[in-house]
Structure formats: C-alpha cells, structure tokens
C-alpha cells in the first residue's frame, strides 16, 4: 500500500493552528496520549479476560479524532463507528465510564448495555459508537438535518472507515447531503484495511476514496492523518463550509492501526499485511511521537513535561481499571430498563398495554 510521507507543508502556521497557545498544543498531545494509554490498558484487561466481546483498538490513529474534535463548538456534533474509544475520550468522556463499560459494569457510560462498540455521550454531542459498518452514516446526516432544522450554526462530523465507503447507505446519505445542503462532514479514516482486506482489494478507485464525493458535487479533501496540525487545518475548512454555507464535505485521512481489526484478528501481523509495514508506521509515522517531536522542536514542550503528561495518562488509565473492577455489575432488573422511554419514565403511555412478553 502507498501512504503519504511525513507532511512537508508546515501546518502549524495555518490560521487555526497559529492561534493555539503552548498549553493548547500540550493539550492536543495529552489527549492523544490519554487515548493510547487507555487503550493499552484496555487491551491488557481484554487479554486477562476482563472484557467481553470485541475490542477494536484505535492505537495509531489518535491524531484524527483528537484533531477533529478539538475544533468542535457548541452546536457541532460527532458520531462514529465501532472503533470509538478515541473519539469518546476526545470529546471528554471519562476513562472511568469507558473502562467500566468495557467491563460491562453498571457504572459504564451505557450501563453495561453497549460495550466497546457503543459508547455515547449526548451531553457532549457524541452520538456513538455504532457497530454496523456505515450504519451511522445516515444518522450523521440526520444530526446535520436537525442542526439545520433548528436554525443553528453547527456541523455534524460523521466518521467512517475505509471499509464503510462501499456500503449503499453512505451514498444515499451523500446524495441527500448535497440535495438538501446539509452541514455534515464525512471523515473517512483510511487505515488501509477493511478488516483483513486491503484498500486495493476492496475499493475500486482513481485517486482516493473521498474523490467519490465528486459524483455528488460535494467538496472533498484528502490528507495525511498523522499530523494533528494538518488534521485540524483540513477539518476546519470543512467545518467552515458547514457553518457558513450549510454544505457537506467528504474528508479522507490516511492513517494506520497498529493492532488488528479487532484484538481477535490474528492475521494482522504478517497475514494480510507485512510486519515490517507496521514497524515503519510505528517508527516513522506515529502521530504521538511526530507531534511530540514537533512540540519539542517548537520549544513548547520539554521531555520532562512529556514525562509528566504520560505518567498522568497512565495513572488515569490504571485508576479506570480500579474503578471498573470495584464497580457493581448491572442488576438483572436492568435488562428491562432503557428499552422504551415511556416505560422508563412510567408515563401513561408506558403504563398502558404489555411491552414485554416473557410472562
């Protein structure tokens, strides 16, 4: 596979980045590190059998979620697929509620009802966390519809993977995004593999995946996702288009996942991709190491500060494990909670008729 080389343009000078304070920059680094340390901790717990189901790790892609989310304002919303831990932490969800959800505990963000693929935080404009490939793409469109309907200035950032672009509902969504002039930004995180099938083996394409937007006269852009500055610069243009013109954009960021499609993916090392490829990305294109080097170079970060940020992130992740360990399991009664709004609230509608049929 071909990948973009390290960015040569200095995106630090882009207006959206030029205004960042030293502290802002360290925050971007901190957010990426928090995601990595959280996920490393979750992997460890998964391997110990503490976590059920699937675990799709975002490690290697942190710059995309952190860069894009750092631009979100009051009326901007975000939705993504099943590789959702990074976006969740980036919007401000706590490691505690995320780790507890992986453990399936009552204190989890979804009370143990969603698991790894289904983190949500509507209070932070974060609408999940969706398990079916591309199933979230019409929902992202709907968020944009809601924003426009209410007359708000906002954008819906809808993330999807390179494997999702071949699902029909994505194109139905693009068509309506253009037709109805909806402020949605589709962000394709192209990590090169839809599960174990490489981009070349899964997608017919000319230049890139985002180019398909041309068929709908939708503006698009493609960039390396490893430089958080560049992610911000490219995404900001799309958000501006959504805010100022109420028009959609399709973005594609080249990125890379170090782990498998999920942790259960045994073929990712030397199977469908060579081990050396993974090493190259880890050594030369790691978004955290690249950004760390950049901030050291800019003299807004010292090795000592980095050490503190990293230690704090590791400690936070370790504490989240403790939190999850001591948290209670959901009660058996809770199986029947959160099915129907009206039943949960015991409204008149919720008290009328039989909603559940076991007995």
């Amino acid at each position: 596979m071909t990948k973009s080389v390290a960015p040569r343009v200095d995106f630090a000078k882009a207006p959206i980045n030029a205004k960042l304070t030293s502290e802002d920059k360290r925050t971007l680094l901190r957010e990426m590190l928090r995601i990595r340390r959280f996920e490393q901790a979750s992997l460890k717990m998964y391997q110990q059998g503490k976590v059920g189901g699937f675990l799709h790790l975002y490690i290697g892609q942190e710059s995309v979620a952190v860069g894009a989310v750092s631009l979100m304002g009051e009326h901007d919303h975000i939705i993504t697929a099943y590789r959702d831990h990074g976006h969740a932490l980036a919007v401000g969800m706590s490691m505690d509620e995320c780790m507890a959800e992986l453990y399936g505990k009552a204190t989890g963000c979804s009370k143990g009802k969603g698991g790894s693929m289904h983190f949500f935080a509507p209070d932070k404009n974060y609408w999940g966390g969706h398990g079916i490939v591309a199933g979230q793409t019409p929902l992202g469109l709907g968020l944009a519809y809601g924003i426009k309907y209410k007359g708000l200035t906002g954008a819906a950032l809808c993330f999807l993977g390179d494997g999702a672009v071949n699902q029909g509902c994505f194109y139905e969504s693009l068509n309506m995004a253009a037709l109805f002039e909806l402020p949605v930004v589709y962000v394709i995180e192209n990590n090169g593999y839809s599960m174990g099938t490489s981009l070349e083996r899964s997608s017919a394409l000319d230049k890139c995946l985002a180019q398909r937007a041309e068929a709908f006269k939708i503006d698009w852009d493609q960039a390396s996702g490893e430089d958080v500055y560049q992610v911000r610069e490219v995404t900001q243009k799309a958000i501006d288009r959504a805010h100022k013109e109420s028009k959609p954009t399709v973005l594609e960021f080249d990125t890379y996942r170090y782990y498998g499609h999920s942790v259960a993916d045994a073929n990712h090392k030397g199977g469908y991709r060579p081990e050396e490829e993974i090493e190259i990305f880890k050594k030369q294109h790691d978004p955290i190491q690249c950004f760390k080097a950049r901030l050291l170079d800019e003299q807004v970060l010292t090795e000592e500060q980095y050490g503190i940020i990293d230690t704090e992130a590791r400690a936070e992740a370790a504490a989240s494990i403790k939190f999850a360990e001591v948290s209670p399991q959901p009660t058996e009664e809770s199986i029947f909670e959160d099915v129907y709004f009206e039943v949960d609230r015991q409204t008149e509608a919720g008290r009328t008729g039989k909603h559940f049929f076991n007995d």
């Binding site: 199933g135 519809y145 139905e172 099915v339």
Partner: protein, 324 residues
C-alpha cells in the same frame, strides 16, 4: 360527525400535529409536491411548505436513517414508506438504529419517530410489495407497532404515535384508504396498547387487527344470521404494546377463540396471541384456539387468486364452526 375517508383522517392527524408541534416533519417519497402516492398527505405541502413536508429521493435506508439521526436532536419525523414492504432495504436503520439505540446507550438517547405506510396484500402488486411486516417488527424490543382498521382509529392512534417518545411503526392499508367512517371534528387521542371491542358477542372471540377486523366483522354478521353464533370482535389496534387484558377478558367471556390476521402463519402476530391465551387462559378455553392467516406462500399476483390468499369471511366462518 363528518363521514370521511381513512386517508383524510390520517391527513387531519398530520395537519393537527404539524400545527401543534414545530418539530413535527413529514418526509418520504412523493409526500410533498406529488401529494403522496396514495394521497394521504394531500395538500399538506401546499399548506405547510418545504420545511414541514419534505420529498425525499428513493433512498429508504438513507432517509429513515436521517430521520432517526434528526430525532436524536429532538426533531419528530413522521416518515412515509410508500409500501411497508420497502422497509426491507432500510432494515438496519429501523432495527439496529431506531430499535436499539436507546438500549445500547443505557437510556441516554430516545428516538421519537413514526415510520408509516401501507402494509398489506390484496392489490395484485406481487410478493415484493405485499408484505405484512408487523410481526417482524413487533419481534424487536424497542420498537412499537400499531395498526388501524378504521379512519377514526387511524387518526387518534396517529396523533398519539407522533407524540410518543419511542419509535412507532404505523401500519396502514391501501385497501382501507378509501373506506369512510365518522370522525369527530374535536380533537381526540387513542392510547397505544388499548384494544377496542368492535362488536360484542358471547359465543366466540374473533381477535384481529387492521383490515382483518373488517373481515372478522363480516364473518360475525353471517355467523349470527346463518349459524346462530354470536361472535365478539376485538380489534387489537396496537400489537406492541399489546392489550393483554382485553384479549383475556374476551376469552373469559366466550371461551372460544379464532384469531384472524393477514400475516403468514409462521410466527404471525396471531401465533404470539395464541401462545399468550394458552399460557394465561388455558382453563377458560372450551376448544382449541383457531387461526385464520394469509395462505402460507408468497403473495400471488393473480387477481383471481390473491383475494383468496388473504383471510376471507368464509374461511373465518369455517374456522369458527370448527372450534364452536
């Protein structure tokens, strides 16, 4: 009371709810400028404009998903499927997104949408357009399923469905759109989960919903006139939530039951009700629970045969005489 068509009763429900709540939006294929493929939304676009009545492209997965996404932000989309059969291409959105998002978010999200349209056979449009998916959808905890046999019920149930904060699948019927009944001009609501006794009787309970209620009523008339059998007709109106009390009350009264439904028999709504009656009213029964469903093959096109594939009064009468 004015005598109006079923479609007009629905139309009034939409108009009233659009006026009552600024977040109510009608959307779907041909609902606006074309006035609706079955003219259910006639005149609404002209009256309420582009914002409230929205034509969509032929993209059921896309626009249903869009409606679900918008509902998460508090919009209340009322989405038309030209045929409920077309739900098959939007199944992921309906089942996984509308149906599961509340649960998977631990109750953080709710999805106040109505998906509506005709769900019936009997119009010679072939198997792909003639599905009755109420049993498929009622099998999904998180969804609600409503059917209306009359214009009066359609209006009252639709208004309630639009105000409900859960996803409601509303099943209409192209063969009923032109049926007339009296509908009051004053506002009224019919709760979901409340059945309606459409005819009192003492010898057998005919339990039905949707157009099958009319079939059952016709059968009841003949049973009384020609066979001296007094049949009670219970219209479920809502499949999920279900009015279990009304069903059991009628069984306790007549002790004999024939379920009439336009589903195919395997895992039909009537199969669920039959099981419920067996579990909860076994001792009340003086005979086996009978069922009259659509004949168990894909909906045939043949105009000569299709009417026979659906439950007919004759088949209902025959079944009643078997169990009485």
């Amino acid at each position: 009371m004015p005598l109006i068509e079923y479609r007009e009763a629905l139309n009034q429900a939409f108009a009233e709810e659009i006026e009552r709540d600024p977040n109510v939006v009608l959307m779907g294929e041909e609902v606006a400028q074309y006035d609706g493929a079955y003219k259910v939304t006639r005149g609404l676009w002209k009256k309420y404009g582009d914002k409230r009545v929205v034509d969509t492209p032929i993209s059921e997965a896309g626009f249903i998903g869009m409606g679900i996404g918008a509902s998460m932000l508090g919009i209340r989309p009322v989405i038309e499927l030209m045929f409920w059969s077309f739900a098959a291409v939007a199944y992921d959105q309906i089942i996984n997104n509308a149906g599961q998002i509340r649960y998977m978010s631990g109750g953080l999200i709710n999805c106040p949408i109505v998906i509506r349209g005709p769900a019936n056979g009997g119009t010679n449009v072939g198997a792909t357009h003639s599905h009755t998916p109420e049993s498929w959808l009622a099998a999904i905890p998180g969804l609600k399923v409503v059917t209306a046999a009359t214009g009066y019920d359609a209006k009252g149930l639709m208004k309630t469905a639009i105000r409900d904060n859960d996803p409601v699948m509303f099943m209409e019927n192209t063969l009923l759109y032109g049926e007339k009944c009296e509908v009051p001009t004053e506002e009224y609501l019919i709760p979901l989960g409340k059945a309606d006794c459409k005819r009192e009787g003492t010898d057998v309970s005919l339990i039905a919903y949707g157009r099958a209620v009319l079939t059952a009523l016709k059968a009841a008339k003949t049973l009384e006139a020609e066979h001296d059998i007094s049949a009670e007709v219970i219209d479920l109106r809502s499949i999920r939530p279900l009015d279990e009390d009304a069903i059991l009350e009628s069984v306790r009264k007549t002790h004999r039951v024939v379920l009439v439904d336009e589903n195919k028999p395997f895992c039909a709504v009537s199969a669920q009700i039959s099981s419920l009656i067996m579990e909860k009213a076994f001792d009340e029964l003086d005979g086996p629970v009978g069922r009259v469903c659509s004949l168990d093959a894909p909906a045939i096109y043949s105009p000569a045969l299709e009417p026979l594939q659906l439950p007919t009064p004759d088949r209902v009468i025959k079944k009643v005489r078997e169990v009485c």
